[in-house]
């Protein structure tokens, strides 16, 4: 029943790290460490998609109630968590060294800078400082590449939204991870109103009419449930919305808005591809 027998590759390979947060988990992968277990593993493909998660990573259940029996069996060296899950802190400390990072709740600095800072902290905590430096440098050069590609098509301003239901959406203004990425790749954010500390603003879809720029485009993140898209198409509030007209509205595969460096890279790629096609 020793774990090495079940997952020999894991036992042999560096620190045993468990992550309760998807952004921190994908950062681990970026640092060349495969987590032994993560929370919400079952919905990774749906919300994070990239980087691919090796099949041997164990599911810990819901982030707010990670399965303690699994946690105990994994015998982690480090448990990665966020302030959002602080209620669990005393419990988690029984199972390993808890590393608590705030990578997405705005506290002054731009969110992308926070993500970079947390990446460095995490890299040094698990002894992957060199990998951390290369990972962040890779992000910078990726942004430069996107910026060059986009400069060629003089991109329109974009508003980024996620639909909550047929009447409501989250839009990502400043501060937010995606807003910071837009700045780095040279695209203007069409939504100029401030976001809350979580990096979005909850609005009713008719409020999108406040976007004055007639060339601005609206981009909605998937997954969008099929019944929701149907309801939107029937809704006069949506049909008549200028920015919802065809040619101005498009959807983008999922990118985790509560993510970190890997999610920023993924978003930059997806958006660059989309805007190049539309040019």
């Amino acid at each position: 029943m020793a774990l090495g027998q079940v997952f020999p590759s894991l036992a042999a390979n560096g620190p045993r790290v468990v992550s309760l947060d998807n952004g921190l988990a994908s950062t681990l992968l970026g640092l060349g460490v495969t987590p032994v277990g993560i929370a919400d593993r079952s919905s990774w493909e749906k919300w994070v998609a990239e980087p691919l998660l090796p099949p041997e990573v164990v599911d810990l259940g819901v982030p707010a109630e990670p399965n303690l029996e699994v946690l105990a069996a994994l015998r982690p060296d480090f448990i990665l968590t966020t302030p959002y899950l602080d209620a669990q802190l005393p419990r988690l400390r029984e199972f390993g060294t808890v590393l608590r990072y705030n990578s997405f709740i705005h506290e002054g600095a731009p969110i992308l800078d926070m993500a970079i800072d947390v990446t460095r902290q995490l890299a040094s905590a698990i002894g992957r400082v060199d990998e951390g430096g290369r990972f962040i440098a890779g992000m910078d050069s990726h942004f430069e590449l996107c910026r060059t590609r986009l400069a060629a098509v003089s991109p329109p301003a974009v508003a980024l939204a996620y639909f909550m239901d047929a009447r409501h959406a989250r839009v990502y203004g400043d501060p937010s991870l995606f807003n910071d990425v837009l700045g780095r790749i040279g695209v203007a954010n069409a939504w100029t109103e401030p976001s809350n500390q979580w990096g979005f603003q909850g609005i009713s879809i008719d409020e999108l009419s406040r976007i004055a720029d007639p060339a601005a485009r609206l981009i909605a993140f998937e997954p969008i449930p099929p019944d929701l898209m149907e309801a939107l198409k029937r809704s006069p509030l949506w049909q008549k919305l200028p920015i919802a007209q065809s040619g101005r509205f498009s959807t983008l595969p999922p990118a985790l808005s509560f993510g970190m460096v890997n999610e920023a890279i993924r978003f930059a790629s997806l958006l660059t591809d989309l805007l190049e096609q539309g040019a």
Binding site: G61, E65, V70, A73, A87, R167, R234, L237
Partner: protein, 659 residues
Amino acid sequence: MSATAARRPIAPLVIALGGDVLAALLAGPRVASGFGPGSDASYDAARLVAVYATLPRLATALLAGAALALAGAIFQQVLRNPLASPTTLGISAGANLTLVLATLFLPSALAFGREFVALAGSAAVALLVLGLGMRRGFSPLALVLSGLVISLWCGALAAVLVFFNERTLVSLFIWGAGSLAVQDWSIPLKLLWQVGALAVLSLLFARPLGLLDLGDTSASALGVKVAALRLGSIAIAVALTAVVTSAVGVIGFIGLVAPAIARLAGARRVLPLLVWSSLIGAALLFLADASLQTLAGSFGDYLPTGAVTALFGTPVLLFLLPRLKLGHRVIAASNRNPRRRFTAQQAAAIVLPLLVLVALMAILFGRSIAGDWEWLWAGMQADLLALRMPRVVAAFASGAMLAVAGVLLQRLTGNEMASPEVLGISAGATFGLAVGLFVTGIAGFGGQAGFAGIGAFSVLGIILLFAARANFAPERVLLAGIALSAMVDALVGLLAVLGDPRALLLLRWMTGSTYSADGNLAVALSISAIVLIGLALLARRWLDLIPLGPAPATAVGMSLSRSRLALYGLAGLLSAVATIGVGPLSFIGLMGPHLARELGLTRALPQTAGAAVIGGTLLLLADWLGRTLVFPYQIPAGLMSALIGAPFLILLLSRRTQA
């Protein structure tokens, strides 16, 4: 008398109009803002929102309210049961459950029309509830008991499904709780013709339905086909419920309250009752929704109106209760003398080995991280044991306490349906926890127990107050309890919707998860269980005498009022502490005593002890299933035990009547 009679027809009109005017005043400014001096922009957001969101929402509220009230009035007339309604008979919950199931597992079925999917569910529940009711001569209480049990079961199952499909079902969750939000006129227009057609049909039934008041034989003599009439009317009411649920989700209590108000306002004959109930129902939902939109501001769109109607409905119901003329005497305890199946020793020989078996399984049998089922043997990991033991102990202690609370309450009220869950005492405890959490940020068992206790005793106090005024008529106590329970649920639900992180903790209490049980909580719960259940066992003489009425008690020199009060207090404490462990949802307080009696344990001492062991074992089983079935995810023990318990209880109810 003639003066009263002349005034009467005006009263319902005043109530219906008054509600509408008030609501219109509240909603007016929002509608008007859309029709101000038109802006020059091609997209006039205010106007579009008024035309395509606010106005159709008002129309939906009026139509849905009228339809539910009409359905309630028909149910009440046909079943001659003032407690009947789409909510209390479980019809709405059944419709909702099939919609959730279809959305998740058979989306293609929705293509045939959501109405038909909803109709399948509501009709199935109607058949089940009425089928069970028929065996008990349509006793109003038995009907409502089955209805509420099925309603809770459907609600629990829908909650579990939503829990595991959280992100895909967010919109469904809001809608399932009765959201009136609409994007255009398609929903109100569809409701208009569907409800309209069913309403016209129901009016055709009004006159023959009135003849039913003469009694079945007289009605038959006048040429009424009684059975066909009943079936037809119920079918209309079920269809009305299904249509509304498929359009806007579950909206509670309108169908119960509106006909009650209509009757109180003087509508006696069937036709006026149906008409005024519909108008009052429309006004009520309109008013509820307009107030919600006004009060909640930017949250208004997210808050489900269906949850709020319980907040409106309950005070009205409590106010009406003492004035409501229940036309039927209720057979409170249909089986004072169940067959004696086993002696106490035999029962113990059955129950105790089961307990040991379940406990061993709960501790030793589980899932490995690869998901395989495996036993922990002698050389097992101590750390896994340290994780499982507190949950096992907490579940058993809470279950035992709930079951004993049920025994006390059933003996005190002489009502076999009484239990902490049904009377709303557990819901009161949860509300106390919620208040404590939000007001003072309590942590630790002592503080939690204090707030849960205050909540439980408040509800208990209100119940006793009402019960005393109603001479302890069981149906009134029960109705007050159900109403309070629904109100507390609604309040807690509203707190949760407002999106506070503390709502997560609250949800854990609501669903009865033992996840947070650590060694300290397990010890605290065990000590409470031992002390409180010990007290209940010591009070066995009181418990044996009280159901016999005042004469035998006073004959042996016992102060009836003081012992009653002490026992109610004990039941309140038991419920409050147990709620900290497993939440307000489990049916253990109802099932434990029933099962003990079913085994033949009728005297106070064996019934109390037996119920404690049975209740604890059931919750242990529920917790184990919840921990292992969907590993590494977990179903909270309270929800799980409601899922197992409800069908079991239904089975029990139907079996008993055959005997």
